[in-house]
């Protein structure tokens, strides 16, 4: 077998059974790997209605035929389970070196079932797999856990995916950290680990694998590298990374602050951008196999946080814990970045949750009595850090915030839910979504709740000429961020690319999602060279659609319908208050038109938002259609 390692590893923590299974040909040929196979396995093996924190939930680690080749951006590991934050499909992928190591050990996917009765960790050393006691690392932060396990196993090159106290305390947005500063952040995959009493997965792989046509593989990979380096975003991205979005959104009049209450003309964040951030950065770092090297290491040189050093600073955390909380002290946010990485919680969701609490405090929905004396005033960094720590430890008011803003708002009542924005419990990124209609549609239909990486049409940020939009997406207005027209084809196009990147375990910054001319056709060429199986453009499109439909069916089984495909809170209710987009809104009528269009393009029922039998059968998902029919979801 080429490309794939050929083995699925299944570990049951309840009865400590360890099984190696042959990787079924039909599964890999129909879903390729990564998110694709993970989602199919989740649909097949995790029944609807189960408790995400119970032993019936399963955790899937996935790689692809490209993972571990090192010649394309192939360092990612995709982790899937039912999400304890949203109650629907949860998944998240992280860079670093863990995915390749798992693949070299001979496993395409690792499936973790049941729950251990006391803290354990997994030690996968090629063919040898052990469940080991983790009592001595329970309660430790992530870097300390790495250090102790490296000493214990006697090799600092072993790759470890671990949770911190956040996951142990079942904070619903706990992350799973691989290497230093690479997080599977969104949707609480670390929480699922914590619920299973699983502290870490340590892996060493020395078996390696072969690709079908090494010369062709090398030639295509070299062409990809050339395209990536010639791409319009490469120059700044290789130096600044995602921090560049801070500056870009602000200059476009799309930045938001104070829990997205204010927008555009925000004087106090004029100086909080890529440039001011870069003075703390000491060097560039890459994930495995990546020529983009968008990550950094940093060290704060001056001020109250002098000496703070760490890894993995991204736009999401810098915005969510920055302007969203009214905070523009970048050194303080770097400190918070370290807390999130060490204690293992999602930097994005934790910041957005705190920002909601700040606004509830501002509006008197909660008071100092609720927060046990902590003044949640905009820009009060000490209060922000104190409340973050209480959230991680689930103490006092932090216990409520540890459930995420949507669940916390429901518990608080008093109209608190009016001040949060989300889709299906997943947060909306810190950019004014009202100015980007296609991005709003993508958030509304995303299979893991609000999320830019599920298919935001990047072309809306740099609108193209109407003729070109017509040629590519069939409508002159498709790329116009203010228009509701032609968004069905547009969002489906970008969704397919994002889905396929996740199935191939490659980084979206090396794809057409991020202006690099690498589309489904090019991805098919490379996967063909890797596996020897013919994946042409048409087949790649079909696979992307198959993955999206299996995920949608999973959501449908959990009760999701058309009414859930929208944005909740401020984004739908208030107009943009100032700046170049002043008065711009997301209108329900426009959203409805976009949904009608999108459902038509992807073949979902207009009234219910459920995939039709015809769509499912065309993609070879008869069994899924039969199950949905037996539940009365489709005729």
């Amino acid at each position: 077998m080429y490309g794939w390692a050929g083995t699925l590893l299944r570990i049951n923590l309840t009865d400590r059974k360890i099984q190696k299974e042959e990787y079924p040909k039909a599964l890999r040929h129909s879903f390729i790997g990564g998110r694709g196979v993970n989602s199919r396995l989740l649909y097949d093996e995790v029944k609807p209605g189960i408790d995400p924190l119970g032993p019936e939930n399963k955790l899937f680690f996935g790689t692809s035929p490209l993972t571990g080749t090192g010649m394309v951006t192939s360092g990612r590991i995709h982790v899937t389970a039912k999400s304890p934050l949203t109650g629907i499909l949860g998944d998240s992928n992280a860079g670093g070196h863990f995915g390749p190591e798992m693949k070299w050990a001979g496993y395409d996917h690792v499936i973790i079932e049941g729950a251990a009765d006391k803290p354990v960790y997994l030690w996968i050393d090629d063919d040898q797999v052990e469940i080991r006691d983790a009592g001595h690392v329970w309660g430790k932060v992530v870097s300390e856990t790495y250090g102790i396990l490296w000493d214990e196993l006697g090799d600092p090159r072993i790759r470890i995916a671990a949770i911190g106290p956040g996951g142990e305390n079942l904070v619903r947005f706990a992350s799973l950290m691989t290497d230093y500063g690479n997080a599977c952040g969104k949707t609480g995959m670390g929480t699922v680990m914590g619920a299973k009493n699983l502290k870490a997965v340590a892996v060493r792989g020395t078996k390696g694998f072969r690709v079908a046509d090494p010369e062709r593989f090398k030639a295509i990979a070299r062409e990809w590298t050339r395209k990536i380096k010639k791409g319009p975003g490469y120059e700044s991205f290789s130096k600044v990374g995602t921090l560049m979005y801070l500056t870009q959104y602000h200059s476009q009049g799309r930045s938001v602050a104070r829990n997205a209450q204010v927008t555009a003309d925000i004087d106090y964040i004029d100086n909080y951008g890529a440039k001011s951030m870069m003075k703390h950065m000491t060097r560039s770092v890459a994930c495995f196999g990546c020529p983009i090297h968008c990550k950094h290491e940093f060290k704060v040189k001056k001020g109250p946080y002098a000496g703070e050093e760490g890894h993995g600073t991204e736009f999401c955390i810098m915005s969510a814990h920055g302007p969203a909380c009214g905070n523009t002290d970048e050194a303080a946010v770097l400190k918070i970045n370290n807390i999130c990485n060490e204690y293992g919680i999602c930097g994005d969701t934790s910041g957005i949750t705190l920002a909601a609490a700040f606004e509830w405090y501002q509006r008197g929905i909660i008071t100092k009595e609720d927060t046990e004396g902590i003044p949640l005033e905009w820009g009060n960094v000490e209060a922000q850090i104190e409340m973050l720590m209480k959230t991680i430890q689930r103490e006092g008011f932090g216990d409520l915030l540890a459930d995420g803003s949507a669940i916390a708002a429901e518990k608080i009542g008093k109209g608190a839910e009016k001040y949060i924005s989300h889709t299906k419990g997943g947060d909306i990124d810190q950019v004014d979504i009202r100015t980007l209609k296609g991005c709003a549609l993508s958030d509304a239909v995303s299979s893991r709740g609000g999320d830019p990486q599920r298919g935001w049409p990047g072309v809306e940020f740099y609108p193209m000429k109407p003729e070109q939009a017509k040629k590519l997406f069939g409508n002159e207005n498709a790329a116009d961020p203010r228009s509701y027209e032609g968004k069905g084809v547009l969002v489906d196009f970008y969704t397919s690319i994002c889905t396929m990147c996740d199935a191939l375990g490659i980084c979206k910054f090396s794809s057409a999602w991020f202006s690099t001319p690498i589309y489904l056709r090019q991805m098919g060429e490379l996967i063909t060279a890797a596996t020897g199986v013919d994946f042409d453009e048409r087949r790649m499109g079909e696979i992307a659609a198959r993955i999206n439909n299996v995920e949608r069916a999973y959501l449908v089984r959990e009760g999701i319908t058309r009414k859930d495909d929208t944005l909740h809170g401020r984004a739908m209710e208030e107009p943009v208050p100032s700046g170049p987009y002043k008065g711009e809104r997301l209108e329900q009528e426009g959203m409805d038109r976009m949904l009608d269009d999108y459902y038509r393009v992807v073949g979902w029922d207009k009234k219910t938002g459920v995939p039709t039998r015809k769509t499912l059968e065309h993609l070879g998902l008869q069994d899924v259609a039969d199950e949905l029919a037996s539940m009365g979801k489709i005729p």
Partner: protein
Amino acid sequence: MPKKLLSKPALCVNCRTCEMACSLEKSGMFNPVKARIWIQKNKKGLDAPMICRHCLVPPCEKACPVEGEKPIWRDKKTGIVHVSTKNCIGCYECVSACPFGAMRIDPHTGQVAKCDLCDGDPECAKWCPTGAIQYVDTKAIGTVSSIDKV
């Protein structure tokens, strides 16, 4: 004097593409233990490509206790230091002797392996995306330090 491989830790971002390029060239596989180059944190905390220097007086060759036809030798014409499995007794004296950590042990066969500059066209330097590994003419090495600042 022919060309030499130079390692520039200040430019290395730890992507390890060099390891995979080497592994594929030498073993036909993607497997880091088959690579003759590897990335290791140096004392300054930088990621450093550990490469064979093809020393003029190779410590590995000197440490080899085999008498007669040695499994390690330096080709005077090309400047390449070679290792062969023929006559190798597997004592790993060469591994201990190398001050640069450039001698590798294949954990599956137990045999030592090292860089042979791909016979004058090294894959690692071709794939390195940042210039942390450069294959340069020895006559130009005096000017290479300026590349750090690019």
